[in-house]
């Protein structure tokens, strides 16, 4: 080989190909990195935007009666700060007229959406989350049993779905859980003019 260098000559074809390679590779990678959002990701995004400042921990309980999705971001942020595990449960109450393991398609489908959104929120906060769908005769008893099994420090609950219309935002189930829980309970109730948090810890429960 000769060590001397040749003169540089830029050809039109070479320049076009070079631009094509750079542009092509860049465009391909940009397209790859921006997939469309899924339904549960959109749910999660909405929940995050509404409840950005809320944080929570340990067990977040959902049921057809209890809407806790707005408390999920709060739970994820607190779990990340405390480096604690986060468990989201969805309790499906099975009437006594049905066997305990009866198929309840619409409720199970709703559980998938709720827990899928919860997982998405937790992943975005870089928090490990477990999810569980539970069929039980009583929502209250199911939540308390899970809290006992997990040795939970805090149960996070949303508000009674029909509370705005009934005038009782907590509902019977939430009040019973708060009354009988052996750990702290954090209840988030959406007020008429924004979000209002009612911390029932200590007031209605004993942590030991």
């Amino acid at each position: 080989m000769n060590a001397s260098s040749s003169e540089i000559q830029v050809t039109v074809a070479g320049a076009v190909i070079a631009l094509g390679i750079a542009g092509g590779v860049g465009a391909i990678l940009w397209w790859m990195l921006h997939p469309p959002s899924s339904y549960v990701q959109r749910i999660a995004a909405e929940a995050e935007s509404e409840l950005e400042r809320m944080v929570g921990s340990l067990i977040v309980a959902f049921s057809p009666e209890i809407d806790s999705s707005h408390m999920m971001v709060l739970a994820a942020r607190l779990a990340r700060g405390e480096r604690s595990e986060l468990l989201a449960i969805y309790v499906i109450e099975v009437p006594y007229t049905l066997p305990p393991d009866a198929e309840m398609e619409s409720e199970e489908r709703a559980a998938l959406d709720a827990l899928g959104a919860a997982e998405t929120i937790a992943q975005k906060s870089n928090v490990t989350i477990r999810t569980e769908t539970i069929k039980a005769r009583s929502t209250k008893q199911a939540v308390l049993d899970i809290a006992k099994r997990e040795k939970a420090n805090l149960i996070i609950l949303g508000s009674y779905r029909e509370g705005k219309y009934s005038g009782a935002p907590l509902g019977r189930e939430i009040e019973e859980i708060a009354a009988d829980a052996k750990c702290d309970v954090l209840i988030g109730v959406e007020g008429k003019h924004g979000t209002l948090l009612i911390d029932e810890s200590g007031a209605s429960s004993q942590s030991s």
């Binding site: 080989m1 000769n2 060590a3 001397s4 260098s5 040749s6 540089i8 000559q9 830029v10 050809t11 074809a13 070479g14 320049a15 190909i17 070079a18 631009l19 390679i21 750079a22 092509g24 590779v25 391909i28 990678l29 397209w31 790859m32 990195l33 997939p35 469309p36 899924s38 339904y39 549960v40 990701q41 309790v91 305990p100 393991d101 998938l112 959406d113 899928g116 997982e119 998405t120 992943q123 569980e132 539970i134 069929k135 039980a136 005769r137 009583s138 008893q141 199911a142 049993d145 899970i146 099994r149």
Partner: protein, 544 residues
């Protein structure tokens, strides 16, 4: 009293992988191949090297599209073997998976070894012929280190792959862009193609060598179970990988043919040579084609001469890493399908990775490494290798098996794709290979994939060609399969499972569960609706 279930004893593989992580797992496997393939193809196909890469690229695109569709439709760990098992049954699923396992364990050894060889360009102490024990110990350390990295967790090793892949994409883009901008002469390309067109045999040989540059795309589908929203993400990452690698391969081959060297090259008589003419009949140059090409890029070449050997070493290392990743994931999937013992599906409680699979196949990779290194470590063994392995070194033997395993498993995957299109038309396909023939099969509307047939013919031809031209591969490749089949039959007999027939499975229920676990709820709803509509049609009698 509420029915509270105990905590799950066997946690699932965690979904930690985002789009770039998924892309980099595939890229880490395929991206390093061009470092090996370019020089070999230039040495054989001469002025038609770009055409050889184009032909191989067509087969590669078919393979890539098949994997993209299947991985997006069935996002589970295991990739090709799962698709084949689902389409063709347990036995063929095992054969395909066993062939890929051969490939991946060899991948671990071969690329770790080559990585150290590249490093030896800058650190002569690592040259195998000079210090075989040091070379061996460094390769062994790399294999063990990658094993630990993968045991600790996919997120950590994905971050490793992702960073190196990003570096390589940027680096290769720089080499190609600056090369085309400053050193490309179209008339040299035309001249090389017109005057140095190879014979049909050489072109075919070049094409079969060029396919080496495209092996490894299946890594993306094997990581499907750990990818977030796989049905949405995998089509994008797969197509991006196909196009990126194709652009690089075609660009490298065309640039090599049309390159005006920054430092003029002459032969022994002082006559000027074109750049590509330094490759035929020169194994040394063939082994470092990308380094030689990048060194001839004006200005950038001075830096590239130092940088590209390091880049090659790192790329080959992450390709080795993807071998660890791939083998453990396939074994995990095969185990869950009762094709391998259940030990292989145990997930570590803390790290949530299939630790036994990783350690077991790394151990096989270490055995292969020892086999490859013995002639260098103990010269007294050289006559034995010369007598029984036709004088080829251990790595040559492994390379033969590498080609055999890839071609075998890809052939089965195309058959699996065709079969699944016919037998499972109800599964929603978020990505579908273009060019299909609409048909009615067993009362359902199906789309027969023309590209699947083209791809099968292409890759099966390469398999036949591999068996014809590689005597060791012809002997040991089928031997590996026969050994696997014997072990499979023993295991199935022990578990009292059907030996050659498939286990009964509720694929409908399984598909719902797959999509649910993938978080693809919309597709799950679509599949459920398709199944109900199909059942309703059958109940009405409109379907026989």
């Amino acid at each position: 009293m509420a029915a509270v279930k105990p905590r799950a004893k066997n946690p699932e593989l965690r979904r930690a992988m985002k789009p770039w992580g998924s892309f980099s797992w595939g890229y880490s496997d395929v991206g390093a191949d061009i470092f090996v393939g370019l020089g070999l193809v230039l040495g054989v196909a001469a002025g038609a090297s770009n055409v050889a890469f184009l032909f191989a690229g067509v087969v590669y695109v078919c393979i890539g599209l098949a994997y993209t569709e299947l991985a997006a439709t069935y996002p589970v760990a295991g990739g090709g073997q799962y698709f084949v098992m689902r389409g063709l049954g347990d036995f063929f699923g095992f054969v395909a998976g066993w062939a890929v396992l051969l490939d991946f364990t060899i991948d671990v050894t071969l690329f770790a070894w080559s990585s150290v060889d590249y490093t030896s360009q800058l650190l002569p102490a690592l040259v195998n012929s000079v210090n075989p024990w040091l070379h061996f110990l460094v390769v062994l350390s790399l294999v063990l280190g990658l094993c630990i990295l993968n045991v600790v967790g996919v997120r950590e090793s994905t971050a490793f792959n992702g960073a190196v892949s990003a570096l390589d994409v940027i680096s290769e883009t720089c080499i190609l862009c600056l090369g085309f901008l400053f050193a490309f002469r179209p008339h040299l390309l035309i001249h090389a193609m017109q005057l140095n067109w190879p014979s049909p045999y050489q072109l075919m040989l070049g094409t079969s060598l060029a396919i080496i540059s495209f092996v490894g795309l299946e890594s993306i589908s094997q990581a499907a179970q750990e990818t977030q929203r796989p049905a949405s993400v995998i089509p994008r990452t797969s197509i991006s990988l196909i196009l990126t690698i194709l652009i690089f391969a075609l660009a490298y081959s065309n640039l090599a043919l049309g390159l005006h060297p920054w430092h003029p090259i002459t032969d022994a008589a002082g006559h000027p040579l074109q750049f590509w003419q330094i490759f035929p009949h020169n194994a040394d140059n063939q082994g470092k084609a990308v380094a030689l090409l990048s060194a001839q890029v004006p200005y950038y070449g001075a830096f590239a001469a130092l940088y590209v050997p390091v880049l090659g070493a790192v790329l080959l290392l992450i390709s080795s890493n993807s071998g660890v990743f791939g083998s453990s994931r396939i074994a995990y999937a095969m185990s869950t399908s009762n094709l391998l013992p259940s030990t292989f599906q145990r997930v570590h409680q803390k790290f949530r990775t299939p630790v036994i699979s990783i350690v077991f196949f790394c151990a096989i990779a270490v055995l292969e490494l020892i086999f490859a290194a013995i002639p260098g470590l103990f010269p007294s063994f050289e006559p034995f290798y010369g007598r029984f392995f036709r004088g080829e070194g251990g790595l040559g033997f492994l390379a033969d098996l590498y080609a055999f395993g890839a071609a075998t498993s890809y052939s089965f995957v195309f058959l699996g794709l065709i079969s699944l299109r016919l037998t499972d038309p109800l599964s929603p396909r978020k990505f579908k290979i273009p060019l299909n023939i609409p048909l009615r099969f067993r009362g359902e509307r199906v789309e027969f994939p023309v590209v699947g047939v083209i791809g099968f013919i292409g890759i099966f031809s390469i398999l036949i060609f591999t068996l014809q031209t590689h005597p060791l591969g012809r002997l040991f490749g089928p031997s590996w399969l026969v050994l696997g089949v014997i072990l499979y039959l023993i295991y199935r007999n022990h578990r009292r499972l059907p030996l050659l027939r498939s286990q009964r499975r509720d694929w409908r229920k399984a598909q719902v569960e797959i999509l649910r676990r993938a978080g693809e709820f919309e597709l799950m709803d679509e599949y459920t609706a398709n199944v109900k509509a199909s059942d309703a049609r059958r109940a009405e009698g409109s379907v026989p």
